[in-house]
Every structure is written in C-alpha cells, then in structure tokens.
C-alpha cells in the first residue's frame, strides 16, 4: 500500500485460519490500521491481493466486504452518536433485512414480524455484553468502556465470519483489559468466528492470541506462536530498541 511516494504497508502476508484468534502488534505507525483499512475496502491496495474464503476482496467496497462476512471496530470510536444504543446495533441488521424502502413505509408483508425479530436479537446481543440496561441511551452518553463494547456488539450484529478488532482494549485499565480479552475468547467460541485484533499491551496479546504477527515500518518482522514472538530478536529490537544505540 502506497500513499504517493510513501510505502505504508510493504509486502505483508499472513493467513488467518478458520476459528483462529490472531493478534497483530507493532509500534505506532507500523501500518496495522492501514492493513485493516485495506481488508475492509476503505483503501484499495496498490499492489498485492487480499483473499477471503477463496475470493479476492480487493475490488469490493466496504459495504460489499461487510456483506461477504468481514466486520470491524474502529480505533477511534465511530459510533452513531445521535442514535440510541439499540439503534446503533439495529443499523447492522439492515444489510440482511427483507423489508427495504417501500415495504418499510407501507409496513407490508413480514415487516412487523421482522422488526420484532430484530428487536429480540438486539436485546440478546446487548444482554450478552451487559449493555441492556443502557439500550435507550444515546451512544455518545455511554462511558468509554461501554462505547468500546458497543462497537464490538455492532460489528457482531452484522453476523461476520471474520471480526477485525482495532485496539479494543485501548484506554482500559488492566482488570478491564483481562475481562475484555476473556469476553473476546468467549465471542470466538460462541459465534464460531475468526478474529484478528490489534493490541498494544503485550501481556494481553500474549495471553489471549493463538498466533501473533508483528509489523514494523510496514514490514512483517515476525509471525508465530506467542512464545516464539516473546523471544524473537527482531521483535525485542522493535519494541525496546537496539542495544548498540543506547
């Protein structure tokens, strides 16, 4: 991925298997979020390919990528601020509903039944994340941690096969982080999905991820099991610096 003359992400290749929980780490500006933006179609990679379920998803727009079964959260929270918590989740159901424009206005066919069904599923999801008591609040009035959780709920509501989490634990304290990571593990089992997550906190990543790959300056410098990464020379250098220069 190049922006003008700047090569931002260079020849990064990895594979996320079915039901795998993979962590992506790297120092600031390594290109982690750019990788997410390329996967979800926000940016089109200038070279290379992204394959999902055996199909290249490079030519697709973000909403088409979402239809293929990839959903994401954002590093800087991007909730729908003027919508209630419930409606934030509701938006994710739109891509799968049958009552489109005119049947919603005339309330034709299965409209009422479908609305009720969606209401029920929203409640179930919010319950699971302990957000149900706040369902009628504006999303922007939630405490920070709950906003992060709501982003995950919203992404899950699109019923993805691959979930991309961009720093889901940012700004949380250590206990909250551990809770969240357990939750993420639970989600993976419950919804039967693969997860790719970006996280800075090494302890957290090492604890939860089955595999980790490390980016630095847009290049992949390591890829492997948490124990391997922990002892990898290059990774230690990237995070702690080169001993010679100190």
């Amino acid at each position: 991925m190049r922006f003008g003359g700047l090569t931002c992400v260079d020849k990064v290749s990895t594979v996320v298997e079915n039901h795998e929980l993979v962590g992506m780490i790297g120092p600031n500006g390594a290109g982690k979020t750019t990788v997410f933006n390329m996967i979800t179609g926000v940016y089109d990679p200038t070279e290379g390919d992204i394959v999902f379920n055996g199909e290249s998803i490079v030519p697709y727009k973000p909403y088409e990528v979402s239809a293929k079964g990839i959903s994401r959260t954002f590093q800087n929270i991007r909730l729908f601020k003027s919508l209630s918590v419930k409606d934030n989740v509701r938006v994710s159901f739109i891509k799968n509903i049958k009552s489109k424009y005119f049947s919603s206005i005339l309330q034709l066919g299965k409209f009422s039944r479908e609305e009720k069904e969606i209401d029920k599923r929203i409640d179930e999801l919010l319950e699971m994340f302990d957000l149900l008591h706040e369902k009628d609040e504006y999303a922007s009035s939630l405490p920070y941690g709950d906003q992060r959780k709501l982003e995950i709920v919203r992404a899950l509501a699109t019923s993805p096969k691959l979930l991309l989490l961009d720093e889901p634990a940012a700004g949380m304290n250590p206990t909250e982080k551990v809770d969240l990571m357990n939750l993420i593990k639970k989600i993976k089992e419950l919804f039967d999905i693969s997860i790719l997550l970006i996280e800075h906190d090494m302890k957290v990543v090492m604890g939860v991820c089955e595999r980790i790959f490390v980016l630095e300056y847009g290049k992949k410098i390591a890829d492997g099991k948490p124990e391997e990464i922990r002892n990898d020379e290059k990774v230690i250098q990237a995070y702690l610096g080169d001993t010679h220069h100190i």
Partner: protein, 340 residues
C-alpha cells in the same frame, strides 16, 4: 404501534375529506394561507428527509418544485382537450386528470433528482450545497428561456387554434383564426393539499422509524462506520434525494394548480433558502419542529406585509438568534450527556 400509525393516517384522511366539504365557507384569504401552509409543509418535510435525516445539505429544492410545477401545468393546459374528452369535466374526471398530472410532476422531479443526485452526492457539505444550488439556477434559467411555457413572462395557459397551433401567447398572424384559451385549471384544493401533507408525514415517519430507515440516520452520523456495517451509503443518499425531489415536485404541482400562474422567479434562490430556513429553524431531523416552522414561516410574512422588503433580513436575524440560543432548532433534540 404500527396498527396505530395506520389508523391515525386513515382517520386523518377522513378528517381532511370532511373539512374539505366546508372549505367553501372559509374566507378566501385564510383559505389561500392554509393551502400555502400545506404546500410549505410538504416542501419542508421532504427537504428534512435529505438535509435533516440523511445529512446531505441540498440547496436546490426550488428547482425540483419548478420542474413539477411547470411540467404539470403544461400537461393540464396543452392536453386539456385530451383530458376533457377522455375523462370528462365532472368532479371525478378532474380528479383522475389531477392524479395523472400530480404523478407526472412528481416523477419528473424524481427522475431529475436521480440524474443530479448520482454524481453530486459524491460531494459533501458545502460542495453539495453549491452544486444543488447551481442546478436549481440552471432549471430556472432554462425555464426563463423556454417559449412553450411562457419564458420569463410566466405561464398561465395555452391558446389552441383550429389548425392545431398551440401557444402560450396570442399568435398575431393567426389572430383571425378562432382559438380557445385553456387556462391552468384550479385543481388544487384543501383535500388534495392536505392529502399529500398526510402522505408525506406518514411516509417519512414510517421510513425513519423502521430498521431500514435508521440507515439514513447512520449515514448522517458517520459514513465510514455505516459503510463498514454493510450500509450502501450512496444508495441511501440517492434514495433520500430522489424521494425528497418527488415530493418537491408534488408541491410544485399543487402550487401551480392553485396559483394558476407560474413565473420562473417563484423558484429562485430565495425560495430554496426559505425551505432550508424552515428545516433549520424547526430542527434538522425533527418532524414536528419542521412542520411548526413551516406553519410559522408561512404565517409570519402575512403579518409583515407592511415591511415585506425586509423579510429576508428578518429570516437572517431569526437564524442568527437560533444559532446562538438553540443550535439544535426549535424542537430539535439535543444529545444529552450523562454526567459521570
């Protein structure tokens, strides 16, 4: 809830029909003001769907109104003999004729809305406002130069000569030949106007409160997030724009068949601004607020007749005061922040 809104809609239709029976006894001056209120509610509510709910700042609503208005009165005058022969001149025949011209006016505006919307909705904010404004001005200037619909002199009807010549003004060379003048028929009344007021309120209310309609609000809040959640934002923006244009066209048809005379100057920049002011004053995305603002801003000029030259200054002042005191509009909601 859904049964309730259908019932409310049907009962309001009956109410409108009943009131219409007594419309004859209303003072003509008040009657005119009431019709204008209805037309302005249709315009403001349809623009609210675009500006308020979907967050796309359009400044070209008068253009769509002009298309609907001019096309429909051209139809109902140039084709007056055809309509009269086919459907008769009874109440029923006129109703059918009016429905046809209403749909034609609305559809034409919607089609133009589609043509304008697809390329211009790629722009955002000020750029979109400028593009739509430019489009409305183009429409007005084109009409100003179209002789078949009266050009800059305005359009009030058509002379149809024996030999088939049709023209909006007397043709001197054919002066000897007998002609019939077909004026714009006065189809618009309380019933038709408020029928469409009820329809658009029902339409926008049901749309916005459905799961599908929440997509419009999500586009307004955060396009990137909406797109990532599987919302085709372009489709949502264009469909809001097109249906807004449709109802603006309808409002134009109602206006034309009430005023019985259209002038390109009726649809100038100030008309677009007036509708935008209604939406902003009422509160972007607040149905009740926008309706009340439409009513107030239709009545207000009536009280300000003596100082009518200063109308726009008063609007501007109103807006400034609004921005300072209630930026969310008269009835707009404010995002409440929970105290931590």
């Amino acid at each position: 809830m859904q049964v309730k809104s259908k019932l409310l809609f049907l009962s309001s239709l009956i109410l409108i029909f009943v009131i219409n029976l007594f419309a004859g006894s209303i003072d003509p001056y008040f009657y005119t003001v009431i019709i204008y209120i209805g037309i302005n509610i249709i315009l403001a509510t349809s623009l609210n769907l675009i500006n308020g709910y979907t967050g796309q700042f359009s400044l070209g609503h008068a253009g769509f109104m002009a298309i609907g208005g001019y096309l429909s009165i051209a139809l109902s005058t140039y084709f007056a003999p055809f309509f009269q022969n086919t459907f008769g001149t009874g109440v029923f025949g006129e109703a059918i004729t009016f429905i046809i011209v209403l749909l034609a006016g609305g559809t034409a505006a919607a089609l133009v809305g589609l043509l304008v919307g697809v390329p211009s909705l790629r722009l955002k904010g000020d750029y979109l406002a400028i593009t739509t404004l430019g489009f409305a001005e183009i429409i007005r200037v084109v009409i100003q130069n179209m002789d078949v619909i009266g050009a800059s002199q305005g359009f009030r009807g058509v002379y149809i000569y024996n030999n088939g010549v049709k023209a909006p003004q007397m043709v001197q060379d054919l002066g000897e030949m007998s002609n019939i003048f077909y004026a714009v028929p006065k189809f618009t009344n309380f019933f038709w106007t408020f029928l469409f007021v009820a329809i658009i309120i029902y339409y926008v209310h049901n749309l916005i409160n459905s799961t599908y309609g929440r997509g419009f609000l999500s586009v307004k809040d955060d396009e990137i997030a909406a797109e990532s959640m599987g919302i085709n934002t372009t489709k949502f923006k264009v469909s809001a724009f097109v249906s807004g244009a449709f109802f603006a066209g309808i409002a134009g048809v109602l206006y034309g068949h009430f005023n019985l005379y259209l002038n390109p100057e009726d649809f100038n920049f100030l008309k677009s601004v007036e509708i935008v002011v209604m939406v902003i004053l009422g509160g972007m995305g607040s149905m009740i607020g926008v309706i009340i603002a439409a009513v107030l801003l239709t009545i207000l000029p009536e009280f300000l007749r003596s100082v009518s030259e200063y109308r726009m200054i008063i609007y501007a002042l109103l807006l400034i005061i609004m921005m300072l005191t209630r930026p969310q509009g008269l009835f707009g909601f404010k995002i409440k922040r929970k105290k931590l």
